[in-house]
Amino acid sequence: MSRSLVRVVKSFLIHLLLIGGAFLMCFPFFWMLLTSFKSPAEVLEVDTWMPQPKYYLQTEAMEEVQVRILRHVMQNTVEVELLRKREPLRQVLLSDLATKTWLFSNYPKAWNKVQPSFGRYFFNSFLIALLTTLGQVLTSILAAYAFVYFEFPYKNALFTLFLATMMVPQEILLIPNYLVLANLGWIDTYAAMIVPWLAGVFGIFMLRQFFQQLPREFYDAAVIDGCSRLGFLFRILVPLSLPPIVTITIFTFLGSWNSLLWPLIVTNSEHMRTIQVGLSYFAQSEGTEWELLMAASSFCILPLVIAYFAAQRFFVEGDTASGLKG
């Protein structure tokens, strides 16, 4: 077998593997999209992947109601049951029934189902995630910088203490944190959802490890050239540390965007709620409105998907922007 043929086969197999992986990763999203166009009954039909035609009847009250055809009475007449309506069976002409396959109406229905609106929830989630991320990245950079480049008493003990806080589950801290915020009068404010998350041990740890790998000579050279400490940090260290900073940014933003428990604990009014609280409205302990939940999930992840594709080039550049070469 020639070398070029081996290369082609190898490339083919690698691509096959990658396509398979990509399909597996994308499958839940396809399923979410397909489900968002189905009717409640269709959602549970395990053998049906694509939305199927459904029949609708306009009632005397000019309301469009889904019907189930029970049997053909005559050639053009069928006996139907009105779904979700406690009414007797009806005999109608087949021509009076409207057929729909893709229920685009699930989207406006889901959008309008929550109060005050998903628009408000988007704004809240975005504002909180943005400020939390900015704050956490900034505090992580400053703290990691101090831990690596400065000497102060009990430095290592303090860092170990920081790390130890990662082992405390959030649930245990809920009530004490609530009490602190209640005493500050911050319940039901943006501050309650942002301030407790302005510093994160994960970010500090990650940046500290990265800073330690950078040659100390960068710092010494900068200081000799008259660069201030903050100047070194923001002109040299931060540009060199883009990969971990991008990682922290993504993790913090996603963590904040997906947060459910904390916003529910520290807010009371509906206009302070976030996207995830809006989604929880469709899933209750007694049952879930799958088609609406999937429609709402689809438009909720849309900004993240757009943001990801818009910033994809930056992420890749971030990976290669390190000054450590050879």
Binding site: L44, L179, A182, D188, A191, N268, Y281, E286, E289
Partner: protein, 455 residues
Amino acid sequence: MALRVRLIVTLFVAIFFVGCQKLPQNEYDERGRLKITFWHAMGGELGQVLKSMISDYNKSQDKVFVHPEFMGRYDILEQKIIASVMAGKTPDLAQMYESVTLFLTRDKGEESLLDLTPLTKEWDGFEDLYDVFKKNSIYDGKVYSIPFNKSFPVIYFNQDVLDLLGETQSPGTWSELGRVAKECYEKVVVDKTTSQMRLRTPEDNENNSNRVYGFAFPIDPWVYQIAYLQLGGKSISEDESEVYYNSQEALDAMDFWIRAIVEGWGYRSEGYNFQNDFGARKVAFIITSVVSRRFMEPKLNFPFTVAPVPLEEKRKVSVMSGTNVCIFNGLTPERTKAAWDFLRWFSEPERTAEWSERTFYVPIRKQALATDRMQNFVKNVKGADAAIVQLPYGDMEPRSSAWYRCRIILREHMERIIAAAEKEPDIHKARAIAKKLLSEANLKMNKVLKKYSDQ
């Protein structure tokens, strides 16, 4: 660079300070009505019904405005109630389970909730509550809560299966249910070509038809306890110091689930998946809360029946579930009066009938059954009375935090019993394992109860 950093920092600080400001909250609304706050965890369709009824109340008078605040889930609501009590910043009313009420009155040793006894003495509605709800609202001789969203488990049947098997009525006992479920598993299939249910033929195989299971269930102490009590079992001693799950009744009650697994006609499901499986016609019978009907009904593409939970002859009993509403202590007399006025309004026969009709929760007042709304509901909606008929013989689970811990232990051991049955084809051996595990659970539960009673 420096300018950019400064701009970002300025923007950050500006937005932060705007965010810190709390919107001014008035005690009265624009029409001069006293605003009171009600924390609840009713989302989705049920939440919409609650909102609409509260809106009706707000329109019905000009003194009080009830502001409902949705807290997402029961467990979050519970944490938030406890935190708000500790911070001294409670709402006026809140929906809560009995264990929370008990924690805030007995275990906590503080007067966090309002003693409603003097108010209920002047209200004829309290005596009209079903006995189980009265008993459920009284803690150490005092009334601390009013029943709110109460339900019973019911059986959901696929009517096509009953018709195919020639069953004219739904099974009324556990043994009958087991028999029909087994028969369904052996005889009924869903044709893959027509998607219709039909009786199995000798030609059927996995390629042309799907088997229909008789019964599917989650690991749930709620329904198990009903079977246990019906066989004459006792959950807990009067002083809550001892449980009796090492008894023959406890083992006999478990037999239904063991048989379902070992004989193959039943299977366990995670969470609420069994409800989805019922809708997908993978299983013919399930037992779950009557309220699930609100969510399942639009998804069911076949005729179905709802019937009361099965009974055994020894003791006619079923166990209710759901929460109550409490008023917090320390409110001004005006706020207390407003909160009580709303609770009374919500508990009027007409209102509790409306709540029941729109959500499937059971009405809490006996007089509600005589209302036109309830009469029409029961007459027009097939199986609407499946939970209502359980009201006269309804009972409740123990309410203490100690029992809550015991319930977790019981659930864990039920899970182990079912897991063992899944691996063990010999029913005698599966029963022996169940006996051992129930004794183990009983021992652990008694230890927990002792620990709590020593505190």
